[in-house]
């Protein structure tokens, strides 16, 4: 394999996986030009992280749900419910911030148990179960909040989504701690890529050329370092970015390196074959929904912290943002295909679209129209690619 043929493959044979990254770069470039560089300014990058982190958290759970061959329509309502439970305890009950946080996550997990029971044990299609959950959890939110909004949260709770870790290692016009984290992230990425490559080579598997490997990794390293530099020169390391980063790494590992992850792909890819291979279908499906509920709880806490209160109507349509992120990120509508990294980039595409249009002063109605069309085109592109590749075999 030569570097030039590999580069060609990125735009031809492997377009299905690389397409989302190319599209992301194009969208970022487009809005950078349209907003005269405002999009990539340090302040705005920090804003994007703070504003859309909850969608990315939801997308992490949703990609596992979708790969497993299910769907979850209830996460928007669940974000509202978990935020409401947390708000009642902290604002009304005067409990410390961490009690509210844990209660929110626990509520999410319990709702996940409820839905997992109906999907995995009773065997009702997830579309129906979570449609019911969408109504049910929304109703419970109104009950918990007595139909009124609660605010404000004490300062400790607000920090979850709005706080920064600053000055831990001193600041010199930029935050050193943020940069150290950035360097660690780059080192971790490169080391793990190198070890995978070495493993493949050792067992005689085909790997990309050294030039391609170096090029790819240098490019990612440069982008990550630049990103951390931008936020270091703005307000420093957002706490929510740390939460998000840990979750992304954890779920990437969970889906690619663990038995649980493998079983999710197996039941989404061919349920009957998985069953006859000894995969405990009920258990896996149960955990898929418990996990989704738990992450909805995390998103609920982050969102209530960010909006500094709980509203009965919070989280409306969040499920659609999360689902859209997964499909834009290349997940298959029939299950078995999809990656955490794809879902995250898909979520970022939605985030940059919204943020870019807001910066340009585009109205909410036009934003919805554009997002809808992008989702449609992304899936159409995916189907087109599948057909194109399929004809070769």
């Amino acid at each position: 394999m030569t570097i030039s043929s590999e580069l060609k493959d990125i735009f031809t044979k492997n377009l299905r996986t690389s397409g989302i990254y190319i599209a992301f770069v194009l969208i970022v470039l487009l809005f950078t030009v349209l907003t005269n560089g405002l999009l990539l300014s340090p302040t705005n990058i920090t804003n994007i992280v703070l504003q859309y982190s909850y969608v990315l958290v939801l997308a992490l759970g949703m990609i596992i749900v979708i790969v497993g061959g299910h769907i979850d329509l209830s996460v928007g309502s669940l974000v509202a419910l978990t935020g409401a439970v947390s708000a009642v305890l902290v604002i009304k009950g005067g409990m410390p911030w961490w009690v509210g946080m844990l209660a929110g996550i626990l509520t999410g997990a319990l709702c996940g148990v409820w839905q997992g029971f109906w999907v995995a044990i009773v065997g009702i299609p997830s579309f129906i179960v979570t449609l019911a959950g969408m109504l049910l959890f929304r109703g419970l939110t109104y009950e918990v909040l007595n139909n009124i909004s609660l605010s404000p949260f004490p300062a400790g709770y607000q920090k979850i989504a709005g706080g920064f870790l600053n000055g831990l290692l001193g600041g010199y016009g930029f935050d050193t701690f943020t940069l150290v984290i950035g360097v660690i992230a780059v080192a971790g990425l490169v080391v793990s890529a190198w070890r995978t490559r070495q493993g493949r080579v050792k067992y005689g598997q085909q790997v990309e050329s050294m030039a391609m490997f170096l090029g790819k990794n240098l490019l990612s390293a440069a982008i990550i370092l630049w990103f951390f530099w931008q936020i270091a020169t703005s307000r420093g390391m957002p706490i929510v970015l740390i939460i998000l980063g840990v979750l992304i790494i954890a779920y990437h590992v969970l889906t690619t390196k663990t038995v649980f992850g493998r079983h999710v792909y197996a039941i989404g890819g061919n349920l009957s074959a998985a069953k006859l291979s000894g995969v405990n279908i009920k258990k896996i499906n149960f955990w898929i929904f418990i996990n989704m509920g738990m992450l909805a709880g995390v998103a609920g806490v982050v969102f209530s912290s960010r909006s500094n209160g709980a509203q009965p109507g919070a989280g409306n349509m969040f499920e659609l943002d999360a689902i859209a992120a997964c499909f834009i990120g290349g997940a298959s509508t029939t299950g078995g295909v999809g990656r955490v990294t794809g879902a995250i980039v898909g979520g970022l595409v939605m985030a940059v679209l919204s943020n870019g249009m807001q910066l340009m002063g585009v109205g909410a109605s036009a934003q919805q129209i554009v997002k809808g069309i992008v989702l449609l085109l992304a899936v159409a592109f995916d189907i087109y690619n599948k057909r194109r590749v399929g004809q070769g075999s």
């Binding site: 493993g199 197996a266 074959a273 069953k275 075999s393």
Partner: protein, 512 residues
């Protein structure tokens, strides 16, 4: 009789990177049954797709002359309008619609958008009589067996005034009785002047019914055999297909048989939905180490049901009886427990039950034995590649590496991946359900060799097959099942097709 109805001249069809057809010629006479033979992947299906318009005119090179006119079909509708109808291996019927609705689907008898039900059902009844199917036109197709569904497909073709009927593997899923009926029907249609092209792996059938056989190998038409010539035997066809003489269809083996490994005692299984229907009735059997044991039975005798109910109670309900491994009673009530007890089951339908087709060889190979290469819930990726590579080499799976998607492999190679997957679980007993279904002759021989190697390594092997010659060729002992009951067992030396068939057709006593 001596007029040419179809001529395909120098058909070449290229896919990106692959030449699927390379200058194929096919000449079919009016009113004959013309067989097309070739190994899997030789290009038979591609050729039929070119003919039926699935690949439109212009996407291939060469000419098609049908009844003297050049055929330029841009879709299936065009070729059907000319009287060319194809019946695919996977039947394209809607199970919830009635027989009549299926026959006229897309071609409804209508007046101004409203369906004339009386005429529809009346015309359907006439067509059903013509194909010899004794069912009401209003019966939902899902209630019919595969054999009868096949007849509905033919009735559908007849409703379109078919002149040339193409059948892709029509008898692959049928039992002997249904197959015989279908072949008889084709003879009848021949007398009515309908020309048929039949693709089949069952060479006995072809010898029986075909007037001419065209052999395709590696995308090229090798030869056309006149089947009235006594030299055109099954072996002659095989020689054409593989390009060499296949001296023996079954590899030699000297059995070394040890102690009883696997024993089933008084096994009974009820149908999952029909209340009183016993699918397996008090069956008992044993398999020894190093022994290859066959189960023969007609469709519906309960062979697959027996195997699947033993393997993790994957079929049926109210299951009673005992399973013993190495003399100890074991619990096989879930697939996980059955695997732990040392049982492996290779399903008859590898695409539906055996493989995750969108995943690569590596992931499929370890799917049933992930526990063996993981610790604390983490999969050891390098070990996984190592194991998949091991089976790729020892099974002679034809791909450069284990990252190839299993969906792109040929049937024989897919079956090898499934075998590798189950060997990775280190079973003591392998149940192989139709291990060579839909696999071409050359690859079959390789699968038999692998089975022999397993027995030589001391594994107990239980083979279920609809093809009696296959059972006679590879098994040391053969059990017969009829209507869910064990009706006998024959050692290899005493078994013949006739004796097996006798035992397979013993009817149930009238008392329940």
């Amino acid at each position: 009789m001596d007029t040419t109805i179809l001529q395909m001249q120098d058909i070449t069809k290229t896919f990106p990177g692959v030449k699927a057809l390379d200058g194929v010629n096919l000449t079919v006479q009016q009113g004959e049954i013309h067989a097309i033979c070739g190994e899997n992947g030789a290009g038979k299906s591609t050729l039929m797709k070119v003919l039926s318009g699935v690949y439109p005119h212009g996407s291939y090179e060469g000419r098609i002359l049908f009844e003297g006119q050049e055929l330029k079909a841009s879709n299936i509708k065009d070729s059907e309008a000319q009287g060319i109808v194809i019946i695919h291996q996977e039947l394209a019927l809607v199970p919830y619609l009635s027989v009549a609705e299926n026959i006229f689907l897309g071609n409804e008898t209508q007046r101004g958008g409203f369906i004339d039900w009386n005429e529809t059902n009346q015309r359907a009844a006439k067509l059903l009589a013509r194909v010899g199917l004794d069912e009401l036109p209003v019966t939902p197709v899902g209630q019919l067996g595969v054999g009868k569904q096949q007849l509905v497909e033919i009735a559908k073709a007849l409703s379109k005034n078919v002149k040339l009927l193409i059948l892709d593997e029509p008898t692959a899923a049928l039992n002997d009785e249904d197959s015989a009926h279908l072949l008889q029907l084709l003879r009848g249609l021949r007398e009515q002047g309908i020309t048929s092209i039949i693709i089949s792996h069952k060479l006995g059938e072809i010898e029986d019914i075909a007037n001419t056989t065209t052999i395709i190998r590696d995308g090229q038409s090798v030869e056309a055999l006149d089947m009235s010539d006594p030299a055109s035997t099954q072996n002659r066809i095989i020689r054409g297909m593989v390009g060499r003489e296949l001296s023996a269809r079954y590899p030699d083996r000297t059995p070394q048989i040890g102690e009883v490994v696997f024993e089933v005692k008084n096994w009974s299984v009820y149908h999952p939905t029909q209340q009183d229907r016993k699918v397996v009735d008090n069956a008992s059997l044993q398999v020894r180490a190093g022994e290859i044991v066959g189960i023969a039975g007609l469709m519906g005798a309960g062979r697959t049901e027996l195997a699947m109910s033993v393997f993790g109670h994957s079929y049926g309900r109210a299951i009673t009886g005992e399973v013993h491994m190495d003399g100890r009673k074991v619990d096989t009530s879930t697939v996980g427990k059955a695997i732990k007890a040392g049982i492996a089951y290779v399903s008859e339908d590898r695409k539906k039950f055996g493989l995750n087709l969108i995943e690569d060889i590596r992931v499929n190979t370890t799917a049933a034995g992930l526990a063996k290469i993981s610790s604390n819930g983490f999969v050891d990726g390098n070990k996984e590649i190592q194991i998949a590579e091991h089976y790729r080499k020892s099974m002679r799976i034809k791909t450069p590496n284990v990252m190839a998607k299993t969906g792109n492999l040929s049937g024989g190679n897919q079956q090898k991946v499934v075998l590798g997957k189950w060997l990775h679980t280190a079973p003591e007993l392998l149940i192989l359900d139709e291990p060579t279904r839909g696999i071409d002759v050359g690859a079959k021989y390789e699968i038999y060799t692998i089975i022999n190697e397993l027995a030589a390594a001391g594994k107990a092997v239980l083979v279920i097959s609809s093809e009696l010659p296959e059972l006679l060729g590879i098994c040391d002992r053969i059990y017969t099942l009829a209507y869910g009951r064990m009706t006998g067992q024959l050692p290899r030396a005493e078994a013949t097709q006739e004796r097996l068939m006798e035992l397979m057709t013993i009817e149930r006593e009238s008392a329940r």
